[in-house]
Symmetry: C2
Subunit: 484 residues, 2 copies
């Protein structure tokens, strides 16, 4: 059942929302009277299609349908979610809600992307105040998981709960802000940094680039995985958090806290910042810089996936949800053991998927095959597993970032301690590689070979009986350099 999101306002944030919904299988209707809206959304969608699918280790749902609506009424009719991202003026937003609520379903989530306003302000004068909540995302919306969800004292609990469920379904991390406050949580922190940074530029202490370097070579790296308090907990060491606060807290009242006034945004200061920013980043076009950013974000978040931590844990949970929706496997044919997109961090200086990533894909496929025959996480936790003893890879076609990658597995031999499989890796429709692997069942305690469980033995026998009837693909039992 495909659901529909209405995107009211198609700037950078609205377009990011559109991409997030579309690529998770929702249909999207956009209302934005600007003549640039369609082009802008197309460009953001291109960025999202380049980066988001490969962030996942399984295939995303088929992309939904994008359409543009001439009126708000048309956009929001029968919508399940309405996301308002119009300019940050309260009257403009309130006027939009008036038009939206005249047509939209009463049970739909009506969420604002506002970075500053409280829900109680947005709800004022609305026909159904309880339907309006804040869902404040972070740019780029299609990649970053955080959404601040704020209902305030007047929102319907059911709307707030449904919003959180849907955001999780979109692969996002809803953070419920329990007490409404101007600018929610993150933007208050950001504003504090922004104000201090403007002073540093204003006073000539540092340029925009120097300030950015002070962030991205230091605490910015820490904050990709642990926040302020968890980091300071570590700085306090074994003496604990209270000790840390007592030690470093007084500095708050020292002279370095004095710059809490707001610098005047004079023409001179604006020009200084814009010029410094040009010197720092002007060698890249905005679109190029966005692609660099997205590749970096995908790389960082995929790294955290490997550690199942922070944003990486959110992504893994999303993959599990997507995978559980997959059709159950038919063991009588080649078994689909991997279905994913080649991510941005899998390519190398030759401009194609690096050879080691073929084995990574094959390894994940074989892991999935192991799981299907009973060697799953529980089995491994109980001390049994398969280790790869030998592998042969043939590269037949190139694969590139963004290609749909599928692996089909043929069981050659699954008797005794041996698990001998042949993985066919397809990039799109082309056979890109074959990977033949011999695994041996081991005891994780002794690290020596051992017999697998009876369930595994029987399941492998059942699959092999079926697979013995399948045609043999080319390339089995080759030596390197052997003539075809």
């Amino acid at each position: 059942m495909s659901r529909t999101a209405a995107i009211i306002g198609g700037g950078v944030i609205g377009a990011g929302w559109a991409a997030r919904f579309l690529m998770n299988g929702w249909n999207v209707r956009v209302f934005d009277p600007s003549p640039d809206a369609a082009r802008n959304i197309g460009e953001v969608l291109d960025n999202a299609r380049r980066s988001l699918p490969g962030l996942s280790d399984v295939a995303l749902p088929d992309e939904g349908t994008l359409s543009f609506s001439a009126t708000i009424s048309e956009a929001v009719a029968n919508a399940d979610w309405i996301q308002e991202s119009v300019p940050e003026r309260l009257a403009t937003k309130q006027q939009a809600y008036c038009e939206i609520q005249a047509t939209c379903p009463k049970g739909a989530v009506l969420a604002s992307s506002t970075s500053g306003f409280k829900p109680s302000e947005l709800q004022t004068s609305a026909a159904r105040p309880g339907q309006i909540i804040v869902c404040h995302p972070f740019n780029p919306v299609y990649l970053l998981p955080l959404v601040e969800v704020v209902g305030g004292p007047n929102a319907e609990a059911a709307i707030v709960a449904r919003a959180q469920d849907i955001l999780v379904d979109l692969g996002m991390k809803p953070l419920l802000v329990r007490n409404e406050i101007d600018a929610h949580i993150a933007d208050r922190l950001l504003e504090a940094v922004w104000r201090e940074a403007l002073w540093l530029v204003h006073d000539g202490v540092a340029t925009t680039e120097e300030i950015d370097d002070a962030i991205r070579f230091g605490f910015g790296i820490r904050w990709a995985q642990m926040g302020l308090f968890e980091t300071y907990r570590l700085a306090g060491g074994e003496t604990g958090m209270a000790h840390f606060i007592r030690q470093f807290g007084p500095a708050l009242a020292w002279p370095w806290s004095k710059l809490t006034d707001v610098p005047d945004l004079t023409d001179d200061l604006v020009k200084t910042i814009a010029d410094q920013s040009d010197a720092q980043s002007g060698m890249h076009s905005i679109r190029a810089l966005e692609r660099i950013r997205d590749t970096n974000l995908v790389t960082v978040m995929r790294g955290l996936k490997g550690q199942n931590w922070g944003a990486g844990a959110v992504l893994n949970a999303h993959d599990m949800r997507l995978r559980s929706a997959e059709v159950e496997t038919d063991f009588s044919q080649l078994i689909l053991t991997l279905d994913r997109t080649v991510p941005l961090d899998w390519t190398d200086f030759n401009g194609h998927m690096n050879e080691a990533r073929y084995l990574e894909a094959s390894s994940k496929a074989t892991d999935r095959f192991m799981e299907l025959v009973g060697c799953d996480a529980t089995y491994i936790a109980n001390g049994g597993s398969y280790f790869t003893a030998e592998t042969h890879i043939r590269h037949l076609n190139e694969a590139h970032a963004g290609d749909r990658l599928r692996v089909k597995t043929l069981l050659l031999n699954g008797t005794g301690k041996k698990l001998h499989v042949f993985n066919l890796i397809y990039a799109g429709d082309a056979l890109a590689a074959t990977v033949e692997q011999m695994l041996l069942h081991v005891s994780l305690e002794t690290r020596k070979t051992s017999e697998p469980s009876e369930v595994i033995v029987q399941t492998l026998a059942r699959i092999q009986k079926a697979h013995d009837n399948l045609p043999r693909p080319e390339g089995i039992a080759r030596t390197v350099g052997q003539r075809p």
Copy 2:
């Protein structure tokens, strides 16, 4: 020529400096009268040995020698670098400089880890004020690259310059703070966030965990790779930075800026924060949480290495410096094509190096072999390269994070378009795997096979002539599952 660093004060920061120097081949003398100093430094060193070597894609220098000195005089005698990390009290620091300068070489760098004091304050009453500078690092010092270098108006230019050179040699990113100011740059930004965060906890708006989540699922991920201004440049989109400031700048003067006072650090507030922090992170011991952090940081920074961006570009440049110091290769024997440590992000659920990483190591080794025969970055930029056609891997022993990994390459055949190599992968002294690879020379334009350059042909012929005389290792030309 091994150099010596004197570490005055062996807390978390001093110990991190000790680890950074030692693992880059410096000898280190520590002065710290605390009875816990040796244990603390040992624990930090354990963390550093676990995480830092694998961050590099080449082998680090042999670790230097650590010793403990009974007096400051003994520690700083003939030292090339003196790092002061005593408690953050001005009189304590000034007293330390008095003792240090009584003995230390006049040309040594005398750097303070202070997060708050200006050099001119530190230099007051010193015998040689111009020798004292600020080098403010970030925890964990052995992993994070940023060091704020501040000389102030009185520092000797030669000391400031030498300090930056040495920091680069240590794999760090010196950021020259051109105008001294309380708390330099980064800690001003951090203090601004810290103050705002304390208010949010104080007012019951959010818990420490909610605030941390607002960071690490959102802007914290962005800041691992681009700072505040570059990020906002993108938020402004094609309309540019000046437009962005004019649009969002006024919010600085809105009500959300009001909380610029400092909350009183009452016992109640300290307890609230400590309790919330326990609820958030108390399930991990400090040491365990440090290991989680370090694994995450290694993973994030290694990801950025793949993109050659930010902290990753710093690491790549450091690898290049380390590699250029390697002894030139003797082509008459097996060629050492890779020498590195297994990094923390290369292991899998079986607790050992994942099979795909063997191919990654072999692939890097073969890249290095290509480079040695003339297929280097310039050659590839001119349109020629080798693509792997076929690979066979035998796994013979497990490798684990922290193992020294060496690859030796035997050239089996390097005639015409073919490059047929046999890589022996050693983990420590044990042969962990063999990887046989057939590569074909290609035109990167047509993506079809083509003849290599004459230089490559001749170099390969020369190597092959020598390698044809070497004994054949076991495992060449095997099929998967073949009996030995």
